[in-house]
C-alpha cells in the first residue's frame, strides 16, 4: 500500500493521516509488519500500521510524545508482553516468521532482535560478565576461551574495548554514562542479534558520547538491521536511511531520510520537523 496524500492544512481529522504517505514496502524485508493495532486496555495506541524494515538499514521513528513510536518499537521483540493490559494484533514477521506465534519462545526471539534502552542499564556485575552473560545463557560459547573471544569482539564492535580492556573485572556500573550505553550495546551484540532496537539510546548522554554512539550505529549498520526511536530530529537525520513519522498512533509518512528532512510530502511531517508543533 502506498499512496500520496496532499493536505492543505493541519487538522486533527484522523482521515487526513490515517493512510500512510510513502512507500512502506521494501525489497527483501528483514521485518514486515501489517495491520498492526496495539492497545493498552481500552486505549488504542497504534492504529493499523504497515511497515517493512529492510535488511541492514537504519530506520528511525520520530514523532511527538505519545505518538506510539516507542510502543511500535517494543512490539518488534515482544517487549510489550511484559505489560499485561497491552494487546497487539496484526502480522509481525521476522524473515517471514510470525513473531507473535503463541508457540514461539520469546527468549531466542529477543536474542535475534536485541534492544538498547534510553537509560544505560548494565547489570550490577563486572564489565566482562555484562557482555558474557547473554552468550553464556544462550550457549553460544563452549569454552572459556570462546567466551573471552566473544566478549572482546563485542566490546571492540561497540568501540569500548580500548577503554576497558585493563579493567574487565570492575563493575559495569562504574563506567561513565556513555561508556555504560556502549557496554549495553556490546551486551546486545554479544548474542549475535539480527536486528537491534534502540529506544532513545542517546537521550541520557552528553554530545560527545552521543556522537560516539551515532558513529557506532553507522558502523553497526554494515552487519545489523537497526530501528531507532529518537526525540532528536537531527539525530534521525544524521544516522538513519529511512525515517518514519508517527502521529497519534498512526504512521503518517515513511520515506528516505533525505527527502523527509528536505521535502516531506505530508503537512504534519513538515509541521513537526520544522518545529511548528510537537
Amino acid at each position: 500500500m502506498s499512496m500520496n496524500e496532499n493536505n492543505n492544512n493541519l487538522s486533527s481529522n484522523a482521515s487526513e493521516y490515517s493512510t500512510t504517505t510513502g512507500q512502506i514496502e521494501v525489497e527483501n524485508p528483514k521485518m514486515s509488519m501489517r495491520n498492526v493495532d496495539v492497545s493498552y486496555g481500552d486505549k488504542q495506541a497504534i492504529f493499523n500500521v504497515n511497515l517493512d524494515i529492510a535488511k541492514n538499514e537504519v530506520i528511525s521513528m520520530i514523532g511527538p510524545s505519545g505518538c506510539g513510536k516507542s510502543t511500535f518499537l517494543r512490539c518488534l521483540n515482544r517487549m510489550n508482553d511484559t505489560i499485561e493490559s497491552c494487546k497487539v494484533s496484526g502480522d509481525l514477521l521476522l524473515e517471514g516468521q510470525d513473531i507473535y506465534d503463541p508457540k514461539l519462545d520469546v527468549v531466542p526471539l529477543r536474542a535475534r532482535v536485541g534492544m538498547v534502552f534510553q537509560k544505560p542499564n548494565p547489570f550490577p556485575k563486572s564489565i566482562y560478565d555484562n557482555v558474557a552473560y547473554g552468550p553464556h545463557i544462550h550457549g553460544l560459547a563452549n569454552t572459556k576461551f570462546e567466551l573471552d573471544e566473544i566478549v572482546e569482539k563485542s566490546l571492540k564492535k561497540a568501540g569500548l574495548w580500548d577503554e576497558v580492556k585493563d579493567r574487565l573485572d570492575q563493575p559495569g556500573t562504574g563506567l561513565s554514562g556513555g561508556q555504560q550505553q556502549r557496554l549495553c550495546i556490546a551486551r546486545t551484540i554479544a548474542v549475535s542479534p539480527e536486528v537491534i532496537l534502540m529506544d532513545e539510546p542517546c537521550s541520557a548522554l552528553d554530545p560527545i558520547a552521543t556522537a560516539r554512539i551515532e558513529e557506532l550505529i553507522d558502523e553497526l549498520s554494515a552487519n545489523y538491521t537497526i530501528a531507532i526511536v529518537t526525540h532528536s530530529m537531527q539525530q534521525a537525520a544524521r544516522v538513519s536511511h529511512r525515517t518514519a513519522y508517527f502521529h497519534l498512533g498512526y504512521l503518517v509518512e515513511i520515506g528516505s531520510t533525505d527527502d523527509i528532512f528536505t521535502n516531506p510530502s505530508h503537512k504534519l511531517t513538515e509541521a513537526y520537523i520544522t518545529g511548528r508543533f510537537g
Binding site: 500520496n4 493541519l10 537525520a237 528536505t262 521535502n263 510530502s265 518545529g275 511548528r276 508543533f277
Partner: protein, 239 residues
C-alpha cells in the same frame, strides 16, 4: 514570502529571526530593482549624475548581502532548520548572491553611462538598450514578486522571458558589430553599449536564477540546468 502555510513555530524567536531575514532580503531586492532602473535611465538619458549615484549605492547592496548571509548562518547554527525552513534559508542565501551580482551589473552599466557622458553618446544601440532593459527590469520585478508571493507560475514566466532576452541579446550584438564595421571611430562608444547589453543579459540570467530558487523553495525540486518543459513539469507535479 510566507512559508507559514500551517502555523507559526513553537519558538516565537525563530519566527522573528526568519521574518527578519526575509524582510532584509526584500528590502535588498527593492534597492537592486531601483539600481537597475536608474542604471538604464542614466545610460539612455546620458545622465552621469544618476550614474554616479548608482555606483555609490552599490556598496550598500554589498553590505546588505553580508548582513543577510550572517543572519542566515546564525539561523543555521541556532535552529538547524529542516524541510521548508531549510529550503527558505538556502533560497535566501542564494538569492542574496544573485541580487548582489545584479547590483554589480547595474554598476557596470552606470560606469559605461559615465564614460559615454564624457565621450559623447554612441551613434546607435539605444533602441536595443531600451528594449532589452525593459524586458530585464520586468523579469527582475517578476522574479522578486514570485519570491514574495511564492508564485511558481510567475517564476516560470521569468524563466521563459530569459530565453527571449538571450535571443534578443544575440541579435543586438550582431547589429552593434555592423555599426563598428561601418564606423571604426565609434568603436569605443559602441563597445560601451555592448558592455551594457552584456550586463543586462547577465541581469536576466540572475533573475532567472532567482525564479529557479523560488521553484525550489515551493516545490523542493532543483530546476537549475533543466529546460523550460521540465521546469513546467516540476511545477505541475502534485507532491
Amino acid at each position: 514570502m510566507s512559508t507559514d502555510k500551517s502555523s507559526s513555530h513553537i519558538s516565537q524567536r525563530y519566527d522573528d529571526e526568519l521574518s527578519g531575514v526575509k524582510s532584509q532580503l526584500f528590502e535588498m531586492g527593492g534597492i537592486v530593482e531601483k539600481q537597475v532602473k536608474d542604471a538604464i535611465k542614466s545610460l539612455l538619458d546620458v545622465d552621469s549624475g544618476i550614474a554616479e549615484h548608482v555606483v555609490k549605492d552599490d556598496t550598500r547592496i554589498n553590505d546588505m548581502e553580508v548582513a543577510v548571509d550572517e543572519d542566515c548562518a546564525l539561523i543555521l547554527a541556532r535552529r538547524q532548520p529542516a524541510a521548508s525552513d531549510l529550503r527558505l534559508v538556502l533560497t535566501i542565501i542564494k538569492t542574496t548572491t544573485d541580487l548582489e551580482r545584479i547590483g554589480d551589473e547595474a554598476r557596470k552599466i552606470a560606469n559605461q553611462a559615465i564614460m559615454l557622458a564624457e565621450e559623447g553618446p554612441a551613434p546607435s544601440g539605444y533602441v536595443e538598450i531600451r528594449h532589452i532593459g525593459h524586458s530585464v527590469s520586468t523579469m527582475l520585478s517578476q522574479a522578486l514578486d514570485s519570491l514574495v508571493r511564492q508564485d511558481v507560475n510567475l517564476a516560470l514566466e521569468v524563466a521563459k522571458k530569459d530565453k527571449a532576452v538571450d535571443l534578443e541579446y544575440g541579435t543586438a550584438v550582431r547589429e552593434m558589430m555592423t555599426y563598428m564595421m561601418e564606423d571604426p571611430r565609434s568603436i569605443s562608444r559602441v563597445m560601451g553599449i555592448m558592455w551594457s547589453l552584456r550586463a543586462l543579459e547577465r541581469i536576466g540570467d540572475h533573475a532567472r536564477n532567482i525564479a529557479e530558487h523560488v521553484i525550489y523553495l515551493v516545490k523542493g525540486d532543483d530546476v537549475r540546468h533543466v529546460g523550460i518543459k521540465q521546469m513546467a513539469r516540476a511545477i505541475s507535479d502534485d507532491d
